[in-house]
């Protein structure tokens, strides 16, 4: 078996506060292979962005990785110094953020930002770097790239700016790209363009992509596998088709049922009562039990269920089996 590009093992992120230690990411494990897109979904506060930031080493203090491992092609990167990590970022890992305007420097031209990144990470001459920058812009579908390279970020539209950010993340040819809500700020038609671009680049270059989003539709179309997070913990992980059509975790199933669907018409949406617990007041046992209609005494007791201890796919003591899902949705 080949080594996955990214391997996260029992990752725990802690934030010490006056009222105790919060765990926005609690013992999360997953792998991403080259050329694979792993979708990470969850509601706000589920810990998906925090997981992405922890992987790439961009946690804001006092948040820190307190235990667990992050392996990039087998090499640990969670405990190396800031300087070595900085050199890995951009070169072996790229990041795409939600808002393209805040992730570009408004005072530098797009070309300067691209060549700076290329010169920093690759051993090439200034002219070669410039050539590569134009090629990178062309690859992400920016028309007249040779002329546009001297433009400033504000001269691009939202969709074009996000393309520049993608070019920037990919210009030093990384093995792993973390895309944190890359299309949330964009319109539907532009979103379709960006999703198609991400998929093409992933396939052509064999990059491992961690796609963080709250949009199930984007996940269904782009991801190969999907990880569902709830209150900092992994609720379910598996091939995207299985998780979406045959959810085993009551939370995943509730999430699917509460999304309005083309087929559902005007019927009432199935709703999950309540909202996600706050990190400072997590319930004992399974974090979902106060909202779960299947909750049993075992669910209220620690330790909470984990994917590894259940069947490797779902973190639930009483997962929904295929027949029950059909029954529940009737």
């Amino acid at each position: 078996m080949t080594t996955p590009v990214l391997s996260v093992r029992d990752l725990v992120v802690e934030i010490p506060t006056r009222r105790g230690i919060l765990r926005p990411v609690d013992r999360v494990s997953f792998d991403i292979a080259g050329g694979e897109i792993l979708g990470v979904v969850g509601e706000s506060g589920a810990g998906k962005s925090m997981t992405g930031n922890a992987v790439i080493g961009l946690l804001d203090p006092p948040a820190r990785i307190s235990s667990g491992e992050v392996l990039l092609s087998g090499d640990p990167i969670h405990n190396i110094g800031r300087e070595r990590l900085r050199r890995l970022r951009g070169k072996r890992m790229g990041m795409i953020f939600q808002d393209p305007l805040t992730s570009l420097n408004p005072l530098l031209t797009v070309g300067d930002q691209l060549t700076e990144t290329i010169l920093e990470h690759l051993d090439v001459s200034q002219t070669e770097a410039r050539k590569r920058a134009v090629a990178a812009l062309e690859e992400v579908g920016i028309p007249a790239a040779a002329a546009r390279i001297n433009s400033y970020p504000h001269e691009f539209s939202g969709g074009m700016r996000q393309r520049v950010v993608i070019a920037l993340a990919l210009c030093a040819e990384p093995d792993l790209v973390i895309a944190d809500e890359p299309t949330t700020a964009l319109d539907v038609s532009v979103q379709a363009q960006i999703v198609a671009l991400l998929k093409r680049l992933c396939r052509e270059r064999g990059v491992a992509v961690m796609l963080i989003t709250h949009d199930m539709g984007v996940i269904a179309e782009a991801a190969d596998r999907v990880a569902v997070m709830y209150a900092g913990r992994l609720a379910e992980i598996g091939p995207v088709r299985q998780v979406i059509t045959d959810a085993h975790h009551p939370y995943t199933s509730g999430l699917m049922a509460s999304t309005p669907l083309a087929s559902s018409g005007r019927e009432r949406l199935r709703q999950i009562p309540g909202s996600m617990p706050r990190l400072e007041s997590l319930p004992s046992g399974c974090a979902f039990h106060p909202r779960c209609e299947r909750a049993a005494p075992k669910c209220r007791q620690d330790p909470y269920p984990r994917v590894e201890e259940c069947d490797g796919r779902v973190a639930c003591w009483y997962p929904l089996a295929g027949a029950e899902v059909a029954e529940a949705s009737e």
Binding site: E43, S44, S157, G158, G159, M160, D187, V188, S189, V190, Q191, A192, Q193, V195, A196, L197, K199, H214, D215, M216, G217, V218, A220, E221, V240, R241, I244, T245, G254, L255, M256, A257, S258, T259, P260, L261, A262, S264, G265, R266, R268, L269, R270, Q271, I272, P273, S275, M276
Partner: protein, 321 residues
């Protein structure tokens, strides 16, 4: 069924010029942005009319003009037979004003953080000098919160709960029409379902009419009876929900449907739409969609298409049939 709201030939132009000194020094002309242009539609009593479109399509501007937060540059909006912009009788204006309320997108920005929930919810009634005794408590219970919440401040609530407070406030003056501007866009999916269900229940109980503004096609399909599609300030297509989704006639509507991510679209390879929304200050001549339209021919570049009726659909496209 009669039309409760009728919007006729509505246009709104914003002056986006630089200050006069800059214009003199830089020798620039005044600049105008046509946010909406010649939009006409009717909303039937007790129905849900949805306006969809991408950013810059003018959907929020239409909503603001309907509630009277903005005045029209041209055209009229009549609610229950009263044109708020020109009506002279004060009593009529006040009656209709109370009948139209609005829910905004961001429940964090639309509640005054220094006011208690009771005062926020009572305000539309208090502003008219009505009786507010026990009103907030009753409304909060109606939207699924508890009467005790009236003494709290907005920061003590989550996003979904805040949107419920906004709904309670909108109900305070016993409106007939609620304009909902992206009411669930800031909410998570499971909370969105709660709010959408609440809105459907209230509509049935109270016989409300909604003007529902959204960019999310699945939400619109779930809520609306009739849908208007806006592109660059123009209404390009309008039809009953089922007709629109079964047979979209305008190429832009078709593109929107095609581009929207689908829950069952595993590994779907969409041919992504070309181009982006043009600059509304200098919109393309003729049909505004022609630079991106796969069907565009010479005529589309010159003549702006008229709104035509095709069966139950109204569509503004030369080539639609």
């Amino acid at each position: 069924m009669s039309a409760l709201i009728s919007v006729r030939g509505l246009s709104r132009i914003f002056d986006v010029s630089k200050p006069w000194l800059n214009r003199v020094i830089e020798r620039r002309e005044k600049a105008f942005l046509t946010a909406i242009s010649d939009v006409s539609f009717e909303v039937e009593d007790k129905s849900v009319y949805a306006l969809v479109g991408e950013s810059g399509s003018g959907k929020s501007t239409v909503g603001k003009i309907i509630v009277g937060l903005l005045g029209p540059s041209k055209g009229t909006v009549e609610i229950d037979g009263v044109n708020l912009a020109t009506e002279a009788r004060r009593s009529e204006v006040e009656r209709v004003r109370a009948e139209v309320q609005m829910i905004f997108q961001d429940p964090f920005a639309s509640l005054n953080p220094r006011w208690r929930v009771r005062d926020i919810v009572n305000e539309p009634m208090a502003a008219r000098g009505g009786d507010t005794e026990g009103l907030a408590e009753r409304l909060l219970e109606q939207v699924g919160l508890s009467a005790d919440d009236a003494d709290k401040f907005p920061h003590e609530f989550s996003g979904g709960q805040r949107q419920r407070i906004c709904i309670a406030r909108a109900l305070a003056s016993q409106p007939r029409v609620i304009v909902c501007d992206e009411p669930t866009s800031a909410l998570d999916v499971s909370v969105q379902a709660q709010v959408l269900n609440l809105m459907s229940d209230l509509r049935e109980e109270l016989g409300l009419t909604y003007v529902f503004i959204s960019h999310d096609l699945t939400v619109v399909q779930h809520m609306a009876d009739r849908i208007g599609v806006l592109y660059l300030g123009r209404l390009v297509e309008e039809a009953p929900r089922d007709t629109l989704f079964a047979a979209p006639k305008h190429p832009y509507t078709r593109m929107l449907f095609e581009a929207a991510p689908k829950m069952d679209g595993f590994g779907r390879e969409v041919d992504p739409p070309k181009g982006e929304i043009p600059d509304p200050i200098n919109p393309p001549p003729g049909c505004a969609y022609h630079p991106r339209c796969p069907l565009a021919e010479a005529r589309c570049k010159e003549e702006p298409p008229e709104m035509r009726r095709l069966g139950e659909t109204r569509v503004a496209c030369h080539l639609a049939e």
